[in-house]
Amino acid sequence: MTRASRAIAEYGAILAVFLFVWWYASGPYGMPQYLLPSPQAVASTLWKMLLAGDLLPHLSFTARNILVGLAVSTVFGVAFAYLVYKFPVLSETLEGPIVVLQTAPKIALAPLVIIWFGLGLTAKIVLIFSLAFFPIFAGCLAGLRAMDSRLQDLAVLLNLGALQRFVRIDLPASLPGVFVGLKVGAVQALVGAVLAEWMSGDQGLGYLMTFATATYKTPMLFGAVLLTALLGIALHGSLNELEARFLSWNSSDEH
């Protein structure tokens, strides 16, 4: 079997099992609709919304926020990790506070973020950033710290400038860690995007969820949840693909 067909078979199988369990729980097992709507109901709701043009705008709104937030988080996360790595003094004074800041529950801060940054896009990006930044930062820092120290010797020898050293040695060497951070960060970005929409605004999957919850449109709620998860899976898949491309030199398998 080729790679693609094997993947299709695997995912097809798992999807089938998943749908069956869901169908069974909502149908024969007798979970009521308001707790767990049937897959058919969810699918038909989604389909109707799609046809009515009520779905794609929300989906793309959320997706865009996630991508923008993730991009900003990546830039700052990697840059910050690099600074901390380069200047260990910073690590002593900053790492603790950063961690502590992170423990402040975002759901508590979300209203404050909205109060501080207004109702627009900024607040949403700030919220996503506040969630996705730290995993990327921590992953990148761990990657940098695990770097083979002999590569540093090489950089010294070749008298590389700060930029070249970063681009050509430190960044590639820390990529395994960066990807760990990105994968966790992507999930967090998603959570942040939904949370932000939950808190304010009238667009996005998160908004659909609040709306559906308040009006007991459980199929719509589950549809939005499902789409969110699909977004997450797509993001994760792309990151895996990127990782496979950028880190083939590092993986232990030989294919």
């Binding site: 090489l154 010294v156 020898l157 008298n159 030199w249």
Partner: protein
């Protein structure tokens, strides 16, 4: 020109400290080829690393008299140290890329070097796909790539077979003669040391110290005949004797 003055190195502090290098003096003139021999752990690598600026001497001073300020030395590490994400060609051209040599010029140079170390056909292999000796040869090619005025080589030929080794020895001699580089080469083969060096530094173990520096009075250029000359054989014998002694 390299001036080593009272250079010593101690690793660690207090009870756990290891004196890797006792104070050592050596003057190395422009264009000299210094071979360094000595027992394992006597501080040869440490000395080279100090000269290269990778390690700071605990005491003493190193002066490099070279005009090529930006990148004064080329270094072949004892254990290759290749960038695992770059191919053989990518590793060899790394010093060129990072000093802004035009792509075309770099390509030509890399091709030349790949041939020199006998890695034709493996230009696009990643380090993990290479044998031990192939890695080492890639590292040698990389050190030669941007033509440094000073070349520091830490047992560069330890992982290659005798034939390749002899070939590389002769190539190194040719390059040295053609370019007038200053070369410091650590080796465990006294034959190699005698064949290549204008001087041979013999070090003794724990704490590593310079036992004696031999001037090699063999005619240049050196050829296969050199290896059968009485002077050469005498020197090799003397070095071996010295080494046996040094070890005790």
């Amino acid at each position: 020109m390299i001036r080593i003055e009272q250079v010593s190195k101690t690793f660690g502090q207090g009870k756990n400290s290891v004196v890797a290098l006792a104070p050592l003096d050596q003057f190395i003139g422009e264009g000299e080829f210094i071979a360094i021999v000595g027992p394992s752990g006597c501080g040869k690598s440490t000395l080279l690393r100090i000269v290269a600026g990778l390690e700071t001497a605990t005491e003493g001073r190193i002066t490099l008299g070279t005009s090529q300020l930006k990148r004064p030395v080329g270094f072949v590490f004892q254990d290759a140290v290749l960038l695992p994400w770059k191919t053989v060609a990518g590793n060899i051209r790394f010093p060129l890329d990072t000093s802004g040599v035009p792509r075309k010029v770099g390509d030509r140079k890399v091709e030349e070097l790949v041939e020199l170390v006998g890695l034709q056909g493996f230009e696009n292999a990643l380090p993990k796909q290479l044998s031990g000796g192939m890695k080492q040869r890639t590292a040698i090619a990389r050190a030669l790539a941007d033509d440094p005025a000073i070349l520091l080589m830490d047992e560069p030929f330890s992982a290659v077979d005798l034939m390749t080794r002899e070939g590389l020895n002769d190539e190194l001699l040719r390059i040295w003669q053609a370019t007038g580089k200053t070369i410091l080469l650590v080796t465990h083969s006294v034959e190699e040391a005698a064949y290549l060096g204008t001087k041979v530094m013999v070090m003794s173990a724990r704490p590593g110290r310079l036992r004696k520096t031999y001037d090699v009075a063999l005619p240049s250029p050196r050829t296969e005949e050199t290896k059968t000359s009485a002077d050469y054989l005498d020197l090799v014998g003397e070095l071996k004797h010295m080494m046996r002694d040094a070890d005790r």
